[in-house]
């Protein structure tokens, strides 16, 4: 009986050690550290294996894009306010449709701009990492739903 229990204990210990070893081998410490800090740039650097030159180039690209992003954001907010004003003021359907079209256009322009930007970012990465990066971000950009609050996947939450 005591050998049965001893062998069982040894087996459980070996299984525990194996499980922990496989967990550690499957983990990505750099990625987890970036997630803990909530630092997307650290994520890009570690997950897509950027060297210093690539990282600096992408950071520069992001900084350059920030201005355009702000401008797009301002236009969308303005168009949204106009649309709401028309809606609450009882404007005619044609004006409302025109406001809707304007908002849709602006969002499409945005989507095109951000897709172009991420493709430029991907081009700086190695081909394989670039493909993986685009496979992660492009669907989220395409599936963004402006009518609902963005969920964790930046997809439809309604």
């Amino acid at each position: 009986m005591k050998y049965l229990l001893a062998t069982l204990g040894l087996l459980v210990a070996a299984a525990g050690a194996t499980g922990i070893a496989c967990y550690l081998l499957g983990s990505e410490p750099g990625l987890h550290a970036a997630a803990r800090k909530g630092d997307p740039m650290a994520w890009l650097r570690t997950d897509f294996h950027l060297d210093d030159r690539q990282f600096a180039a992408i950071r520069q690209l992001h900084d350059g894009y920030a201005g355009a992003c702000d401008e797009h954001c301002r236009r969308i907010q303005e168009a949204t306010r106009q649309r709401r004003a028309l809606s609450s003021g009882g404007a005619d359907p044609a004006a409302l449709q025109a406001a809707d079209r304007r908002l849709t256009e602006l969002r499409e322009i945005c989507e095109t701009a951000i897709a172009r930007h991420v493709r430029q970012v991907a081009a700086i990465m190695s081909p394989e990492d670039g493909r993986r990066y685009l496979a992660i971000v492009l669907p989220k950009i395409a599936h963004f739903d402006h009518t609902a609050a963005p969920d964790l996947h930046l997809e439809h939450s309604t």
Partner: protein, 100 residues
């Protein structure tokens, strides 16, 4: 017909053996028997090798799979969260909704 007196028998008649008394003789015998039959851990494992081999393969395999799957799930979740944080900063459509 009487047989002649046996001189050897007569000589042995007064001879008596007095072996030394061993108080723990019986206990010692059982101890030696026990020592011979007692199982070691190695003997036990060898005797049940097939069953333990199967059990070890299943349990350690399951532990390895669970460890790896848990790590991969965490990697996916962290990557997903970071991608969202990244795009929230980057996407004017999200910013337009988040900013006052």
């Amino acid at each position: 017909m009487d047989s002649p007196p046996d001189s050897l028998s007569q000589a042995l008649q007064p001879w008596k053996v007095s072996p030394p008394v061993q108080g723990a003789f019986r206990a010692d015998v059982w101890k030696r028997i026990g020592d011979r039959t007692r199982e070691t851990w190695g003997v036990y494992v060898r005797a049940h090798a097939a069953a333990w081999l199967v059990a070890a393969t299943v349990v350690i395999g399951a532990a390895a799979y669970t460890g790896h799957a848990t790590a991969q799930a965490r990697v996916r979740a962290d990557r997903e969260a970071l991608a969202v944080t990244y795009l929230v900063d980057l996407d004017p459509r999200v910013q337009a909704e988040l900013r006052p």
